[in-house]
């Protein structure tokens, strides 16, 4: 396998983790988040610092997950106070706050980023295999969540929180769990990214990244784990094949997002299955 292929597959795996984890928050639980890039970035920076300090891979991965989910819980608490359309705006704000904050912090490398991240010791292909294993585990976890009673209750909270309350389902705790779980996985993706590039810069975690991830969720079919994973793969490979797309990332992903929301709100999953009942498989 060429170095290019290995690097491409690594990025695909990381984006699958990111899109599937965003789908837990926005697809399963109905909390529209346009700031997933911030949790991804928080995990990357946390893992980078821990990796530099300890050279311990498991510790750095755990740090990424922890910091991602703590930030996620904080935003989750904020989400309890705002209506869902405001939540979208709030999370956009979080993303800009995150990038703006990091740019000004010397200990985080400010504009320059962090470049001296030690290698994982697994080699490029070992790294890639680790990323794919985590991506597979994330997909499996997501499928399991959806089949469990937690996923069942998520669906109720997503559709009508007040009606869910009349079935004794506490929407608040479910929303918090969705945020904690989804952002922990985003933090993990960030940690994997830090080891993959050994160099991180805040531009990788900006609002455009969040829009791209939301495009993957919407195009894959909100709530459909498999659809979202496929969309993540396709939308990652597309700009690599057609280089010019990279120049117009926001335009392309934003455009695709709007196109799918208006023409096929069920995403690819519903185009293939036709019915909305199967949307969540």
């Amino acid at each position: 396998m060429s170095a290019y292929t290995i690097s491409l597959l690594s990025i695909v795996g990381i984006n699958v983790i990111l899109a599937v984890s965003l789908n837990i928050i926005s697809g399963f639980c109905g909390q529209i988040s346009l700031g997933h890039g911030a949790f991804y970035g928080a995990g990357a920076y946390a893992a980078a610092l821990v990796a530099i300090a300890t050279r311990n891979l498991p510790l750095a991965l755990i740090a990424g997950m922890l910091v991602g989910s703590v930030l996620g819980l904080i935003v989750g608490f904020a989400s309890l106070r705002v209506r869902s359309d405001f939540l979208a705006v709030t999370t956009i704000g979080i993303n800009f706050l995150f990038t703006g904050f990091v740019r000004k912090q010397g200990w985080l490398g400010a504009e320059m980023g962090i470049s001296s991240i030690p290698a994982s010791g697994l080699g490029a292909s070992g790294n890639m295999i680790m990323i794919e294993l985590f991506a597979a585990a994330t997909i499996a976890l997501s499928l399991y969540v959806n089949a469990s009673w937690m996923g069942f209750a998520f669906r109720a909270v997503a559709e009508d929180e007040d009606a869910a309350a009349t079935l004794a389902i506490n929407g608040i705790s479910y929303k918090l769990v969705a945020f904690a779980l989804g952002t922990a996985l985003a933090g993990l993706a960030g940690a994997l990214y830090a080891y993959f590039t050994q160099f991180i810069n805040v531009d990788a975690f900006d609002f455009i990244t969040s829009v791209m991830l939301m495009a993957m969720v919407v195009i894959g079919g909100i709530g459909s784990t498999v659809g979202v994973a496929i969309a993540a793969i396709v939308l990652t490979l597309l700009p690599e094949t057609f280089r010019f797309i990279n120049e117009y990332r926001l335009l392309v992903f934003g455009g695709l997002l709007v196109l799918f929301i208006s023409l096929a709100p069920g995403g690819l999953a519903s185009l293939f299955h036709g019915t909305r009942t199967r949307l969540r498989r």
Partner: protein, 256 residues
């Protein structure tokens, strides 16, 4: 009377200075069947929202099974034995009819999200949901999307979900609205059957004929206040109750 299942003490709430519910007190005993009537805007739905915790009163208390639940969440009250149906039906439209009821039947599994995550089995809940759907007359509609049902069936689905919670007391907000006469009579018989099985009922209805037929006690609300309270036939003869309605329905009732 044995200890009340539900007791309201001086409940009051106002919206923008207008009292929607004003000093309402009454208590419902176990197994009883109360009717709650009143003209449009009398405060019936608001009262149900206060009892179920969707709204918090400006003053007064709600007691459920002897416990003060005034400041408890709706979910907590439901766990303690309260169930309600909405005047404007609120099914989970993207779920099947069966799943709507299964979710209610599994309400003990979904109390804590992390415990819910460790549970997959839906067998017992499915069985129970099927039997409740038969009870409310929705057998055969299990696999349909809830969003595709006509209003009459959605009203039944609301009741099915409430029953699946295995409640001690059920608040029904206009379960007959939009049904034709024979459907309404059927629905009331079904509700009476639920009551006969020991479930306490508070029924809000505009269909006076049916509510009077089914209730053992009738409460009349007007402008947020209780203006009549007693045996249905006696209450309907009171002057101020008739004045509050001033409508054909009472005339029709008196004549019939």
């Amino acid at each position: 009377m044995n200890a009340p299942v539900l007791a309201l003490h001086n409940l009051a709430i106002s919206f923008g200075g207008v009292a929607a519910v004003d000093d309402v007190s009454f208590a419902i005993g176990r197994g009883d069947f109360f009717g709650l009537i009143g003209p449009n805007g009398a405060g019936k739905t608001t009262l149900i929202r206060l009892i179920s915790g969707i709204l918090t009163p400006n003053s007064g208390r709600v007691e459920l099974l002897g416990e003060d639940v005034t400041h408890r969440s709706t979910a907590t009250r439901v766990r303690r034995g309260l169930a309600l149906t909405h005047q404007i039906v609120r099914p989970f439209r993207t779920m099947s009819v069966l799943d709507n009821v299964v979710l209610a039947a599994g309400h003990m599994r979904t109390v804590d999200p992390l415990r819910a995550l460790l549970q997959m089995d839906r067998h017992a809940e499915r069985e129970r949901a099927m039997s409740i759907l038969r009870q409310v007359g929705l057998a055969g509609a299990e696999t349909k999307l809830a969003g595709s049902l006509p209003l009459g069936q959605l009203k039944r689905l609301e009741i099915a979900r409430a029953l699946a919670l295995d409640p001690t007391v059920v608040l029904l907000d206009e379960p007959l609205a939009g049904l034709n006469n024979s459907e309404a009579a059927e629905q009331i018989d079904m509700i009476a059957g639920v009551n006969a099985s020991g479930v306490t009922i508070l029924l809000v209805e505009h269909n006076l004929e049916e509510v009077i037929r089914a209730s053992r006690r009738l409460i009349v609300l007007a402008n947020g206040r209780v203006i009549g309270d007693g045996v249905p036939h006696d209450v309907m003869r009171q002057q101020d109750v008739r004045a509050a309605y001033l409508g054909e329905s009472v005339e029709t009732y008196a004549a019939g």
